[in-house]
Amino acid sequence: MIGYILRRLLLAIPTLFGICVIVFLLLHLAPGSPTAGGPDTLRRSSGRAAEEMRRLYALDRPLPEQFARWIGRVVRLDLGESFVDHRPVSRRIREALPHTLVLNGFALLLAFGLAVPLGVLAGGKPEGVFDRLSGTALFALYSLPTFWAALLLQTLFSVKLRWLPLYGVSADAPGAGLDAVVDRLAHLALPVTCLTYGTLAFVARLVRSGVAEARASDYVLAARARGASRVQALWRHALRNALLPLITLFGLLLPALLSGSVIVERIFAWPGLGRLYFDSILARDYPVIMGLSLVAAVAMLAATLVADIALAAADPRVRDGAVG
């Protein structure tokens, strides 16, 4: 097992390097330049001033040299400085990261927490009333565009009913202790809902098909024959096997914890990584884009690794090399 993990870790290094090269090339080959500034710019620099800026940010150097400088800093765990506000990239990421982690963490937990029971109930009796109803409802949810749902939720819960705050992470004066916790949760409710329902629909249907398939298999029949009740057979035997693909899926969804959601973060004015990424791309803030891409790549590789290890732990066939 340890050998397996080490092998995977070593393999991750060239993969990461490859990702960095590709992102770097895409960035620099794409049209646009950091010297022009965004659409909000008061005065665009041109001619001599633009030339001075290119020199300041070493953009006048050959691409391989720029890349070598960047990689040289990264191995010393330095992501460089933003072109936009000249602060360390790591600092900007650190400021936005907790907000995105909290938002997406809640969304992911909620999605899986609801999807599993829904899926098992639906899969326990395929083509039954609950299966059909939940199938239709989940399909409708899955196809609901986030920006539309977000505006609708805001209208209902914030404008009409005034139950939940319209935007932001916390109130101006959130209070202390329990009040502060309640305030944070209230602010989380709408954006988390927006981020949850799509994943929920998707995962629930996956669980449902896994359970439906397992339910018809011989080992569930055998369990029933040994006297296990229908519920026991479903939850203890069918679900366990249906969970295996979920582990892989969870691994794939985990990096989304970091990637943030541009649309939801903009609508709810959530100060997370999605907004930082989006703004940086618009401003062609190369160091920040590279830093965020690197973090996302590391998260992706780490999550895949964790998922594979979990899968190996859960499925002896993977561990012993019989499958995959």
């Binding site: 794409a30 049209p31 646009g32 330049s33 022009a36 500034g37 965004g38 659409p39 909000d40 710019t41 008061l42 005065r43 665009r44 620099s45 041109s46 001619g47 001033a49 001075e52 800026m53 020199r55 300041l56 400085e81 936009v84 506000d85 000249h86 602060r87 900007r92 400021e95 936005a96 505006l151 805001q154 914030s158 404008v159 319209l166 935007y167 932001g168 992470v169 101006d172 903009r266 609508i267 709810f268 004015a269 100060p271 997370g272 907004r275 930082l276 703004d279 618009l282 401003a283 062609r284």
Partner: protein
């Protein structure tokens, strides 16, 4: 399609007044007062500075559509920084609502007879938030930073193009030398100062003051929560105009609809409205009960740049024909619902450079066809598209993605062009890519908007033949010896009256040469809580002027009466 560059109005009256060193008035500059709108918004100049008495206190909650990149005045580059810094840092000189230059942090200014040296005297009572006086060495330090090639001071650098040197005369006076005399030079002195003592021995780009600036204005920064808000409170050591609110909170809200809902919900005092939200506000009873719509014209206008270097648009007859195919009256009626004015040259109608007697070219497709034919563009191969020397008349008409109005204008032009055998493909391009193409001169036609940062009407940087890409931002590379000569003359002419004559002659040439398709000057729209009073609009908007938003106050809850 927003294009951000310095644009133009006055400056003509301003030299004399600016350098005269007018005293700080305390109250707003109060030109022609108009009545507060009651039901319908008033389109035009609004001045409530004489209403009152103004009440002190309360919190003003405003919106920023993006995070400020810095609060270092020299490094500021976009609108959010400028909106916050206006409360925190005083400019040497400011524009008032009538675009006159008024002394602000400076007490006055003397110009040498050759027009090369400017000696500015600072106000004796001006102090920083830490109690130290604002000194000439702060000004020398600030100017040295602006012109430093290693400092990206994009907003102020162009003002110091002909800069030679700066020196401290005494504790309160400094002198700036320029290599050339320039008629609009005073515009260069509308900038704030930085306290030298806070930056000593620190990396200028990363100094802690860039996040927490030392105020010399009416308010100081209390808190800046990344991507959330910036909070200001009164500066206890403020001198001069003080402002009426006790606190100012800027909420950082990227989404227009969310901001609108905060406004109607009573959580913002003011927000700018886009065309969609303006229509919504007009029919929204919630908006009607809490808020009022304020509409006015500023110096911005939009236009379609044509690449004069391209064989398609090198001939002025062709460019005139394209202008005559854009039905601008219909754009005003249908796209802007009447709240826009057709422009016939590169200024908005409120700019003194704009000659109202220069009528715009009419919408005249028949005449346009004749002009195309005269220029040699005929359909010789019978494919329905005009051609000349084997080249078909077809081109990409670029627009910045997300500019809804720009795209609609382009579609209208494209449809008219198609009727006379010219193919214009409307292409939406992401902003950074768009502006790189445009500033590089790598385009045939592109939809742009001009945002005025100051009222400088000098057309030289944008239309003089020496400023074609890559040297400058005469993006379409318009080149006319006669216009060049007049632009050079206007820059040298120190007499405001004579300068206006020159600019008016230029205006006529711009109309007839049609270096670009000048479209309209559209109204700006803001929603305000009804309780907020003391509004003064100007051709630079609410915020580019002094005292601008400092004159606003909030009527106490309850007895608000009208409006």
């Amino acid at each position: 399609m927003k294009r951000a560059v310095a644009a133009g109005a006055l400056a003509l009256l301003s030299l004399s007044i600016g350098c005269g060193g007018r005293q700080e008035s305390g109250a707003a500059p109060a030109p022609r007062p108009t009545r507060t709108p009651r039901v319908k918004p008033v389109l035009g100049f609004l001045d409530e500075s004489r209403e009152g008495p103004a009440v002190d206190g309360g919190t003003l909650r405003r919106r920023l559509d993006g995070e400020p990149t810095t609060l270092n005045a020299v490094l500021q580059s976009s609108a959010p920084e400028a909106q916050v810094l206006q409360y925190v840092q005083r400019n040497l000189f400011d524009f008032d609502a009538r675009l006159n230059l008024v002394a602000s942090l400076a007490e006055g200014c003397e110009v040498s007879p050759d027009g090369l040296a400017y000696t500015v005297t600072l106000r004796p009572n001006a102090v920083w938030e830490d109690g130290r006086p604002v000194l000439a060495r702060d000004a020398v330090f600030t100017i040295q930073k602006i012109v430093d090639p290693k400092i990206p001071s994009n907003v102020f650098k162009p003002l110091f193009d002909d800069f030679a040197s700066v020196e401290e005369v005494d504790a309160r006076r400094f002198r700036v030398h320029f290599r050339k005399a320039y008629a609009f030079r005073m515009m260069a002195f509308v900038f704030p100062l930085l306290p030298e003592h806070r930056f000593a021995g620190k990396n200028f780009l990363k100094a802690p003051d860039n996040r927490a600036p030392l105020s010399d204005g009416p308010y100081r920064v209390v808190a800046w929560k990344g991507q959330e808000s910036v909070e200001l409170e009164r500066n206890p050591l403020a001198w001069g105009d003080r402002g009426h609110f006790d606190r100012i909170i800027f909420r950082i809200l990227p989404d227009n609809t969310t901001a609108y809902r905060l406004l109607t919900g009573g959580d913002l005092e003011v927000d700018q409205l886009d065309p969609g939200l303006t229509r919504r506000a007009a029919a929204d009873p919630e908006f009607g009960s809490c808020c009022r719509l304020v509409e006015f014209y500023n110096l911005d206008y939009n236009y379609i740049a044509l690449n004069n270097r391209s064989p398609l648009f090198a001939d002025a007859r062709v460019r005139r024909a394209v202008t005559m195919l854009l039905d601008r009256a219909s754009i005003v009626r249908n796209l802007y619902r009447g709240a826009a004015r057709i422009v016939s040259g590169p200024w908005a109608p409120d700019s003194p450079a704009y000659d109202p007697s220069v009528a715009p070219l009419p919408f005249d497709p028949a005449k346009a066809v004749r002009l195309f034919e005269e220029a040699g563009w005929r359909d010789t191969n019978g494919n329905g598209i005009r051609d000349r020397d084997g080249r078909e008349f077809e081109f990409d008409l670029l627009v910045s993605a997300g500019s809804e109005t720009g795209r609609q204008i382009d579609e209208m032009l494209s449809a008219e062009l198609a009727r006379v055998g010219v193919t214009a493909r409307v292409r939406a391009v992401e902003w950074a890519a768009f502006i790189e193409k445009v500033d590089g001169g790598q385009f045939e036609a592109a939809s742009l908007a001009w945002s005025a940062v100051d009222p400088n009407p000098d057309p030289y940087p944008y239309w003089h033949s020496s400023q074609c890409p890559p040297n400058g931002i005469n993006d379409g590379c318009y080149a006319s010896p006669e216009a060049d000569r007049l632009m050079e003359e206007a820059r040298r002419e120190m007499d405001p009256g004579k300068r206006t004559v020159l600019l008016h002659r230029l205006h006529r040439i711009f109309r007839d040469d049609a270096p670009a398709v000048f479209v309209v000057n559209a109204a700006q729209r803001y929603g305000f809580q009804r309780r907020v009073r003391g509004l003064v609009t100007s051709p630079l908007g609410f915020f580019g002027i002094w005292p601008g938003p400092l004159g606003w106050w909030q009527a106490p809850a309850g007895g608000t009466g009208s409006p």
